[in-house]
Amino acid sequence: MRWLMGLAALGGVLLAGCGAPEDQDSAAAFASRYTAAPSAPLLIRGATVLTGAGERLDNTDVLVIDGKIERVGEDLSAPRDARIVDAAGRYVTPGIIDVHSHLGVYASPGVDAHSDGNEATSPNTSEVWAEHSVWPQDPGFATALAGGVTTMQILPGSANLFGGRSVTVKNVFARTVNEMKFPGAPHGLKMACGENPKRVYGSRGSAPSTRMGNMAGYRKAWIAASQYRDKRQAALDGQGEMPDRDLALETLADVLDGEILVHNHCYRADEMAAMIELSREFDYQITAFHHAVESYKIADLLATNNICSALWADWWGFKMEAYDGIVENVAFVDAANACAIVHSDSDIDIQRLNQEAAKAMAAGRRAGLEISEAHALRWITSNAAKALGIDDQTGTIRVGLNADLVIWDRTPFSVYSQAQQVYIDGVLMYDRNDSDFQPVTDFALGRVSAPGGMQ
């Protein structure tokens, strides 16, 4: 089934069945082995709720039962055994979602031995899976949690045209990555445009060394993948033999079948347009362009093609293809009714995506756009969930969805705002005022920090 952003947004039900097949069966290899801990009912009272879907609800209660949002409204009554949190004067948002993280694959400390994000040995490494590099003990998971991040996509790096499969995880503390994997979340495929692949391979005297070489590399791979997919489909239809297993082609064929979402690192407007042409040639959907500092130049094209832009608020100039970055990028993409997302690509900025969204919002307002905080919150919640194919589970405060929630001491669109409590599936994972709920990874154990600590 093809995964189409626009339709998913309209229907909200089309994603059912889109999850990668292995997640449907927990006995399968590499499946999600996450289960939420049991939790008592939770009633958060009297908060300003920013739903993540664009609404702001004042003086509102959120009731959570069995890890799901049961009710949202005024003066809700709590079940007898409920934990009650008075959130008067506070803000409640969905858990923050980062669609672009390298936590675990470029873990702290940043030593060579932790450099597990780029299999930079061939321009097409569609066969590698980021989850096979993720170190669950990366101290960055804990600090991201303190910033309200409940879900993230961990991607391979951008050295290759095809970097491999991404994984979407819950920001929970487990001994294995499988216990972090977000149930039902489709895999992503990391693709990369531009300078990185051509630099990495060109400097070795091998292809690609130019942008046209990049394009040729993608096309060759998609031709092979199309043939593989057709053979595989024919075999399933009783026509001929199943092709030999090929991990790289499996990944690409799954993209063509709409089961893996394309997350494409791409900065320049003209290159994004070329990638859209490529997707037309091989009939696949690009879910999101990542980094995309020039999305504002083609926001209309991105809207027409239902492609999200996952963006920094203000990074620019560190390389040629990032030279035209502007702080209005997020707001302009949003104003064109294209899907805008604020991402981090950083173990530091992931801790304050709320501030990054605030900067992007403020820049849009200065350019004359009307953008409410409730609306801007979509950039780090529901739009992000959509791009990860999990908006039927998280990213919005809505009845039936996972109770991934953050209680902030004030509007999250402030530099002074701090997450007070963070819940994942209704379970309290972080509490700023209770050290029993401040996780410390194995690596950080015994490295006693200053009062207040890393978090």
């Binding site: 504002y296 926001a299 203000d314 200065r366 002074y416 705002s417 200053a450 009062p451 207040g452 978090q455």
Partner: protein, 432 residues
């Protein structure tokens, strides 16, 4: 900013505030954070004249002929002072020809002077000054990626303004930059000890050279570890006049830095100092300044295992002068966000603002010229639409040496070109 020229004019024509062509600008009605003993003044007036602040006073005061900036409900601060950056030394990091902030090898050490590379036409200057950054310390960077051991001194820093003209240089050799700890060890060939030895040797050589210049020039003195130019550059460091900006993170490295400064009588500015909070009292006792990166809370390396968001607060509480800067150049404009985050983690708000305005000036011995709103100070001033440390705040007016800078940058031009995607003209024919 033609500052010298107008100063001369100012002296010649006398001191009248009402001089018709004295280019007087007043900012009236704002909340003025003077960063001086005068504190914060509500509904105050800042008078700028000939590139300097000629008065800061309560109430509304508009001399005849003055240009008036209404700042009701606005916040007025000194211009932001980036305590370390490579503004004007880099245009695009990945384009080698545009990067002049560092060099490899050990042919030049302390003498390597970034002021000579500064480009006042760099697009980074306007991008950052429209966001309130008016002045910066530009620092040389260590020789990352060098194939052979390189100098632990990366060179001399300078103070510049961001006004974008040829008169950019405020102070040459404002500090000398060096590295110990993990970075120093990397540069020196693999060990912290080698870095310290290299540093100590150069300082001792500089002292010996000072006493035997003639003999050295006559070839009658022992060989030194660094060149004559470097020995000269180190003279003001060993005299305690010019600060040594020394990077170190690990607590043990910081202790070494303090001891080194004590032994040679150096004015120490500790750069980074991820674990500085562990030695907060010693840093205070030794009058060491710390340039803090408030967001650095991860054990990015084994020298930063105790990195903490509370670092700035702990240092400030102990009485250490804290500057805030993370070394960013393209986004030096995020100094306010950095300071805001330090405040969110316990640094008093005034200290947060000082860390990006007055404290950098004071740490470099320039506190009588920059970083405060007071009579006689250089008129680097910003009028903000709200709390300057807030991520949603932005300047409504920025002055560099008394001149209002246009609210235009390469980024604003791109913004204006592409905001209306339905413009029938191709982008290249829109605003130019």
């Amino acid at each position: 900013m033609k500052y010298g020229h107008r100063t001369l004019l100012f002296v010649l024509v006398g001191l009248s505030c009402a001089m018709a062509h004295a280019e007087v600008t007043v900012i009236v009605g704002g909340t003025v954070h003077t960063m001086s003993d005068a504190g914060t003044l509500q509904d105050a007036t800042v008078v700028m004249e000939d590139g300097q602040i000629s008065a800061v006073r309560r109430g509304r005061y508009v001399p005849d002929g003055a240009t008036v900036i209404e700042a009701d409900g606005k916040v007025v601060t000194p211009g932001l002072f980036a305590a370390r950056s490579q503004l004007g030394l880099v245009e695009v990091n990945a384009v080698a020809g545009t990067v002049d902030g560092g060099q490899q090898g050990d042919r030049y050490t302390a003498a390597f002077d970034v002021a000579d590379s500064f480009n006042p036409d760099s697009s980074l200057l306007a991008v950052n000054r429209v966001a309130g950054v008016t002045r910066a310390v530009i620092v040389p960077s260590p020789a990352w990626g060098a194939e052979q051991p390189s100098a632990v001194f990366s060179g001399s820093a300078a103070v510049v303004h961001l006004g974008g003209d040829d008169d950019f240089l405020a102070v040459r050799k404002a500090a000398v930059v060096a590295h110990i700890g993990e970075t120093g060890g990397y540069l020196a060939g693999g060990s912290r000890s080698a870095a310290l030895l290299s540093l100590t040797e150069a300082l001792e050589d500089a002292i010996d050279y000072k006493a035997h210049r003639d003999a050295y020039d006559a070839g009658a003195r022992r060989a030194y570890s660094v060149s004559k130019a470097d020995l000269e550059a180190l003279q003001s460091v060993i005299s305690g006049e010019t600060p040594l900006m020394l990077s170190a993170h690990r607590a043990s490295d910081i202790r070494v830095a303090i001891d080194l400064a004590d032994r040679f009588g150096l004015r120490l500015i500790l750069v980074g100092g991820a674990e500085a909070w562990k030695h907060a009292d010693r840093l205070a006792a030794s009058n060491t300044t710390v340039i803090n990166s408030p967001q650095s809370n991860l054990p990015s390396g084994f020298d930063q295992l105790a990195a903490s968001l509370s670092n700035a607060r702990a240092l400030s509480e102990a009485g250490v002068r804290v500057l805030i800067a993370d070394g960013s150049s393209h986004n030096a404009r995020n100094l306010t966000q950095l300071a805001g985050n330090a405040v969110a983690h316990g640094l008093p708000w005034q200290d947060g603002l000082a860390a990006i305005t007055s404290a950098p000036a004071e740490a470099l011995g320039l506190g009588d010229k920059f970083g405060k709103l007071a009579t006689g100070m250089v008129a680097d001033v910003v009028v903000w639409d709200g709390d300057p440390l807030e991520v949603t705040a932005h300047p409504v007016a920025v002055f560099v040496e008394g001149e209002r800078v246009p609210s235009e940058s390469r980024q604003s031009l791109l913004r204006d070109r592409y905001q209306a995607l339905d413009d029938a003209r191709p982008p290249a024919y829109r605003n130019r």
